[in-house]
């Protein structure tokens, strides 16, 4: 079965899905709750290292390790989100950037994280004695992605989502409506971080070897540009933005387009991302989805809600 499909393509999709989960977490923190984070890769790293350490060093069951990685990133992200309560928006960018760098240097220097070498032999999960790899790993990641999208949808359309949206727009108004802004900001960091933690754990058990280099500022900036491109505060935007920016460079590789030296692909990627960020900010600050389509969708949604309500009344 596996041999039908080039495993390289499967890997591309697995990493794409992992990136979307990571992006959704950042979109929750920055897009919905309005708290800028330039250290999102740190949460990703915490998830990856937690799951890796638990399985490699303590022999914990892989599934349990992934679960614990999510719980632990949830807690640590809440703590690391505390600065958001004290500092203004510009300082929050710098603070999260700094925290990200500190955490990366802990990964690089601590003994338990394997220091500069990193951690090796991270096991794949298994189900009924079967190792989950390649195509079945794609299945696992897909399930996690769908779950992440589902949770995002439910949260953002609830009163909690409205609380985040109000905090994003105007904290004074939020407080005046009885919204405990402290609690909801920390909650956004915790949940957004937990998403990143899940993505990190999935990454670790996919590649089986991790080192601190994978969790640096470059990744934080990349994910942020993907989320901004798709549009802050939009689930579809994140899916689209991450897919576009992640797949575009891969296409060059897959179709072997010799436009430039592949050795420098990563460099070109960063240039491309940087350029897109600037262009989006200049011409489409609300992301490539723009405003009109948003308005239309919103209308549809609220009419649907009203219809539901009327029907409900008839029944009752």
């Amino acid at each position: 079965m596996d041999s039908f499909i080039n495993p390289y393509y499967i890997d591309i999709i697995v990493f794409l899905f992992i990136y979307i989960i990571l992006g959704l977490g950042l979109n929750l923190i920055t897009g919905y709750a309005g708290q800028v984070s330039l250290g999102h890769a740190a949460f990703y790293g915490i998830g990856a290292y937690t799951s890796a350490i638990l399985t490699v060093k303590f022999g914990v069951n892989t599934w349990l390790a992934i679960f614990l990685a999510i719980v632990i990133t949830f807690i640590l992200s809440a703590i690391l989100g505390l600065p958001s309560l004290r500092v203004s928006e510009d300082f929050l960018a710098i603070t999260t950037l700094g925290l990200g760098l500190i955490i990366q240097s802990i990964f690089k220097n601590a003994e338990i994280t394997g220091g500069a070498y990193g951690l090796d032999m991270i096991p794949a999960p298994s189900l009924f004695g079967l190792e989950i790899i390649d195509l079945s790993y794609l299945g696992l990641v897909l399930v996690m992605l769908l779950l992440a999208i589902f949770i995002m949808k439910r949260m953002t359309q609830s009163r909690i989502g409205r609380a985040w949206m109000t905090i994003h727009e105007d904290e004074t108004v939020a407080q005046s409506m009885g919204i405990n802004t402290t609690y909801y900001k920390v909650l956004a960091f915790a949940i957004g971080g937990a998403f990143a933690g899940a993505a990190g754990a999935l990454f670790a058990h996919k590649v089986s070897y991790i080192s601190a280099d994978s969790f640096g500022f470059t990744l934080s900036a990349t994910i942020l540009s993907m989320v901004v491109l798709g549009g802050l505060g939009k689930i579809r935007g994140t899916i689209l933005g991450v897919s576009l920016l992640y797949l575009l460079p891969e296409l060059f590789r897959v179709f072997d387009i010799q436009l430039f030296d592949m050795k420098y692909l990563d460099l070109y990627k960063m240039m491309l991302y940087g350029m897109i960020m600037v262009l989006v900010m200049r011409y489409r600050p609300k992301g490539i989805f723009g405003n009109t389509s948003l308005k239309k969708r919103k209308k549809n949604r609220s009419s649907a809600k009203k219809k539901e309500l009327r029907d409900g009344e008839i029944i009752a």
Binding site: I151, R154, M155, S158, R159, I160, R162, A163, M165, T166, E169, D170, T172, V173, A174, Q175, S176, M177, G178, I179, N180, T181, L187, I191, K295, K298, K299, S302, S303, K305, K306, E308, L309, G312, E313
Partner: protein
């Protein structure tokens, strides 16, 4: 009459400026109180102290005999305070309905897990939120406007959305900061009628207003602030009959307006 709100000697100093100076005021259950005074008198600052946005340098505030000065703004809101803002503060890119739904926040309970699992209690609560929001929108005269993007509405209608957002949580006390600013005479009339209707439902109202004729007609009591000091606090006829108040604090050009109003 039962006193709902007791403000005792509050003072707020910004740098060298005493914006509110030792002001006391009592609001009784069911009253409409007008707060007037020239620009910069400290009226908005007074509201910001009541709602906990600013901490007073001195004084204390009791709401239903409970000390609320020192509480966070969201905690004060949860006591049953609602307010509007002088410079309309809506979520401009969101629909009218969404804005009003935000006002229902403190009346709803759904937690994170319940929301993710969409428990039936949550669905019911959301339906109730929408039902209530639409009902209030119709009360303030915005029937059928719920899907409009609030930033695209006229100035007067945006004020109505703000009032709807404040009202939907059935507050005990409603604070309105210049609700008729920028409205024409007809709209002012409608706003007066709306405030009466709200008050008739048992809501105590304090409003900051520049339209003297309107507050004289509408309010049970008027308090006058000037340079942060309360210089009068009585029934409207008494306040506008006070020549010192009119001349010194409402402004010369409005003296004629008021006296012509009194004559008519």
């Amino acid at each position: 009459m039962r006193s709902l709100l007791k403000i005792e000697g509050i003072t707020k100093i910004f740098g060298g400026l005493t914006a509110v100076n030792d002001v006391s005021l009592t609001a009784n259950q069911g009253e409409i109180i007008g707060l007037i005074g020239p620009n910069g008198a400290g009226k908005t600052t007074f509201f910001n102290i009541l709602t906990g946005i600013y901490k007073p340098n001195a004084g204390r505030i009791l709401f239903e005999d409970q000390l609320i000065s020192g509480m966070k703004p969201f905690q004060i809101a949860n006591q049953g305070f609602s307010r509007t803002f002088q410079n309309i503060r809506l979520l401009k890119e969101k629909s009218v309905l969404e804005n009003v739904q935000v006002g229902m926040f403190r009346k709803t309970k759904a937690g994170l897990w319940a929301s993710i699992l969409a428990l039936s209690s949550v669905k019911k609560e959301e339906q109730e939120t929408i039902r209530k929001s639409l009902e209030i929108l119709s009360l303030v005269g915005l029937d059928g406007m719920d899907e409009e993007i609030s930033g695209s509405l006229s100035y007067g209608n945006q004020r109505r959305v703000e009032i709807a957002r404040a009202l939907v949580s059935e507050p005990k006390l409603l604070l309105l900061d210049e609700p008729t600013a920028g409205m024409n005479a007809e709209e002012v009339e409608e706003m007066s009628a709306l405030i009466r209707k709200i008050n008739a439902n048992g809501t105590t109202v304090i409003l900051i207003e520049h339209n003297v004729a309107m507050v004289v007609d509408l309010c049970d009591r008027l308090a006058v602030l000037d340079h942060g000091v309360k210089i009068a606090d009585a029934n409207p006829d008494e306040v506008i009959a006070n020549p010192a108040v009119i001349e010194a604090y409402i402004g010369k050009d409005q003296v004629e307006e008021v006296s012509s109003f009194v004559e008519n």
